[in-house]
Each structure stands twice: as C-alpha cells, then as structure tokens.
Symmetry: C2
Subunit: 289 residues, 2 copies
C-alpha cells in the first residue's frame, strides 16, 4: 500500500457550547450544537520515510495531528488542504486530526473501527487544547447536537433534521486555547440554557435565535462582528458568531440580504469519508463492470 | 407548507445479525453489520385531504409506513420510489418508515430531532414485524455495526471505515416475518459469533468472510443462491446473502468476475437526507448569492 489516501472531513461551525472537563480526555468534551459544512478539509496521507505535515504545501506543525501520527507505527507525509481558514471557528484542527486518523488507518493495518478512530482524534484534540466537540460532530455530519460530551463510548449525539443553505464571513482568528483556559462559567451557563431551549424546540429558527443569544450573552463578540450581526438583523435575518473564531454565519440568505458577499455552503450529511476510495482491494467503482 | 418534501434513504443490506427482543419495541432490535448503499428509496410527502400511500404510482399498504403516518396529525400523500426490490433484503420497509417520518416532520410542525424520528420509524418497523436493525443503520449510513440493539437512546453503533464498490444480484423475496417469527436460536448463535470475530478484526475482508460463514451456518441459503456464491468463490471472490432476501452481494468485482451482470452501487455515507431541501425558509442553495 503506497498510494496516497485522501480523506474529506466537513468543517464544523459551533453555534453554542458548554465545557465539560474530566480527568480522562475521552470523557472531556462539550455539549452544544453546530453545523457540518459542505466546505471542509482534505487530508492526504502518503507512506514516507519520515513523518511530516504540510498545509497548502508549506511545512507546518499541528499539535493535534502530531498526537495522532504518534499513535500509528507508520511514517507518512500528511498533506492538509482546507476550504476554510484555521482558527476562525470551523473546527479545522479537529478535522485535520480526524482525517489523519482515518488516512493512517488505511496505510497501516486498516483494522480500526470508526469509533476507535474518532476517539483517537478526539483525545488528540482535547490534549492539544484546541477543541472539545468538533471531532464527534464532524464524524456525524448534518446539524449535530452534542447531548452528552466526549468520545463515542461516552458522548451522546442527536441532530436537527434539515439541510439549509449556510452563509459565512470569516474575518480572522480567535484563540480557542485562550478562551477555553479562561473563566468559562458565564459561557457554560449561557451554553446550557441555549441547549435546554433548543432541545425543547428543536427547529432551525430556535437554533439561530439561541446562537445569537449565546454570542451576545458570553460577551465574546468583537465590535466588528457585532456590527455585521446587527446589519443582518436590520435586513430581517438572524446571524451569529462561530465559536470560536471571528466568523459570522447565517442560514439562508441573511448575509447576502444585508449586502455582504459571504461564502456559501450547504450542510454536509456524509461526515468523514474517502472521496477517491479507501485503497482496499474491494474499491473499484470507476471500473467498467 | 404545501410543497412536496422528498427524502432519500439508503438501502441497507444486512450481512449478518442476531435478534434481541424486549417488551419495549424501542429496546428490541438486532446486533450485526450491514452496508448502506448509494441505491435507495425516495419518499415524497405531500399534504393532502386524506392519507394514502403509493409505490411506483400504485396504491399500496405498508404496515410500518401506516404506523408512522398514524403518529402525525397531518394527512399526506406518501409516494414511494425504490431503486431496489421489496422483500429482497434491502431494508426497504424500514427505509420507507424512516423517509415517511422525516417527510411528515417537515410538513407538520418540523420540531422533532433526528433521534426522535429514528425511534419512531424503528418502533413502527419492529411492531410491523418487518425488520429489527435497518432503520438505525440507514440513518447512520456507511458500513454500520449494530453493537447494541434498539432505537438511538438504547442502541450503540460503530462502523467499518471505507467505501468499497458493492455488487448485488436480487433474485426474489424471502419473508423476514416468517424467519423472525421462527426458531432464531441457531441464527443468534451464528450472528453473535460473527460479530465477535468482526469486532476483533474490523476489516472489509473479515466482514465478507463472516457474512459468507453466517449465510452458510444458518442454512437460510436457497440452492440457487448457494450456486452463485460458489461461482464467486471459484472466481476468487467472496459473496454472501443479504439478510433476509434472495439477494447475493459482493464487495469489489466478485459477481462480475464470476460472469454475472450485477447491479453496481457504492457505500452511502450520508444516511437520511432531503436532496431538494427541507422546505424551510432557510433553504435556498440554488439561489444566486
């Protein structure tokens, strides 16, 4: 097995969340809700003499990815390509860890289950301090509700049915590590209330209302983000901030109607997958019958 | 809301299983493994004065679907279209129940979560006696392992990573109701052993070996199905029977290599979804920005 293996992982915009820490990183995580996007991250793993990681062609170091590569006994070149910016609230580091786990599984012994690979990436992301809930959500796809936190053996997921158009504007970074290592009490109160309300009325309207309320209540909104959210409200829509990044998102045409030129995506229901096949002897869809 | 809502649900071929009954139909189900296929079932729900169900244009009655429509307080015309035959081991009745639940949710109050809709369809299918594990697998997509039986709040799912080519030949029906209401002890022993072995070595090779072994050990194989499976083995492949139907399936090119002209599909990772949108005010991907 020396062919490159490409893995697609959807970007994940967290709308609101609360933090749940435990001694075991697999039991650590977040509750909340988010959107898995048709825009995402491609991770290509190729067997190599030494392990190295490149992002859009440049050598890089990503803690969560390194923690994943360390657990496999194969060396590989991990190529990362992203439709969305890093550090802007799209769960890119989690996606990279997850895509690396699914890729290295193929080029090593190809003998782990999805839950084992999701757990591995979740733990790597938690230990790196760069995220708490993106990995499990990205694996599920859709509009995942993280009902209980943690890796698959502990976490409980649900979902809001639907596949709306999503618009987003990414303005810049916000350090997840800084926010998560700070005082999270206010954030947890706001996140728990939002989740309770959404579960009582699990609709897309309620999702956007609670997302907007959470962003306001947690006082995480930079002034320029607040300005855009206000513009969308003035145009009759509801926008919120991606947690955690300087990114505004709406469902439908909220940003467009307010005069912005956002990126446009849909909801991705597929979660993690191998778009060009998993390299197994069984894969040959493109062959003539 | 009077527009028709289309829901796609992947067909699900069960490779092997064991039966687990409980007083509560939500806790009743099966353990085992199967394949969610890119071929599937489309369920179109349109508000109407009285509820009626049509399959490929003809009026019909499907117990699991009726049990779902009975729980909603809207009347609708449910149009069913299937890429695969009924009663041949593709989980069509489960898919129809699931697609009906997701469709009626949209044209009624649009306020249930995915787990609630999956539970509803699972219970309908169990009570109708037409299936035990297809609904939860079809919702997940991919190559789902049913680790623990039952609806989302009870069941535990995992998956084999990968997206191989799947070939299948559907020869005819086999009554799920007749087999499930008969003596299932031998079947349960064979299914439990197969699952144990697959979980110890969760690979596609092991999946096919255990599927083939299960089909043989349960003595459910009609002679013509056995003949095709032998032909595939002679050509160097591994085939098995879809549980429960007179359908032979292989991964890769097994049936083609043995000289047959099978239907060809891939693995569907998306599970249940609305290909043309969910009719919400937020849906307008096709619009110009």
């Amino acid at each position: 097995m020396t062919d490159p293996i490409e893995v697609f992982v959807p970007a994940h915009v967290t709308a609101f969340f609360s933090v749940h820490r435990a001694t075991d990183p697999a039991q650590t995580g977040s509750r909340g809700v988010g959107l898995a996007l048709s825009d995402g991250i491609r991770v290509t793993s190729t067997p190599a003499d030494t392990t190295r990681v490149t992002l859009d062609g440049d050598e890089t170091t990503i803690d969560a990815v390194e923690r994943v590569t360390d657990t496999f006994d194969v060396a590989a070149h991990i190529q990362l390509d992203s439709d969305v910016p890093l550090g802007a609230g799209f769960g890119v580091s989690g996606a990279m860890a997850l895509g690396t786990a699914f890729g290295l599984n193929v080029i090593s012994d190809h003998d782990r289950t999805e839950n084992q690979l999701v757990r591995l990436a979740h733990v790597a992301e938690v230990e790196a301090g760069t995220g708490l809930g993106d990995v499990v959500a990205q694996h599920r796809g859709g509009i995942p509700i993280r009902v209980e936190p943690g890796a698959p053996e502990y976490g409980v997921l649900d979902g809001i049915p639907g596949g709306p158009r999503v618009e987003y504007l990414a303005l810049g970074e916000l350090s997840t590590e800084a926010v998560l290592s700070g005082d999270v009490e206010r954030l947890n109160r706001a996140g728990s209330t939002a989740l309770e309300r959404l579960r009582a009325e699990p609709t897309l309207d309620r999702l956007m209302d609670e997302s907007h309320r959470f962003a306001t209540a947690t006082e995480l909104l930079p002034p320029d983000i607040q300005g855009i959210i206000d513009d969308v409200a003035d145009a009759g829509g509801t926008a919120a901030m991606a947690m955690l990044g300087q990114t505004v998102f709406t469902l439908g045409r909220g940003l467009t109607d307010a005069g912005y030129s956002p990126a446009i995506a849909t909801i991705d229901h597929g979660g993690v997958r191998y778009p060009d096949g998993d390299g197994s002897v069984f894969y040959s869809v493109g062959d003539d019958p």
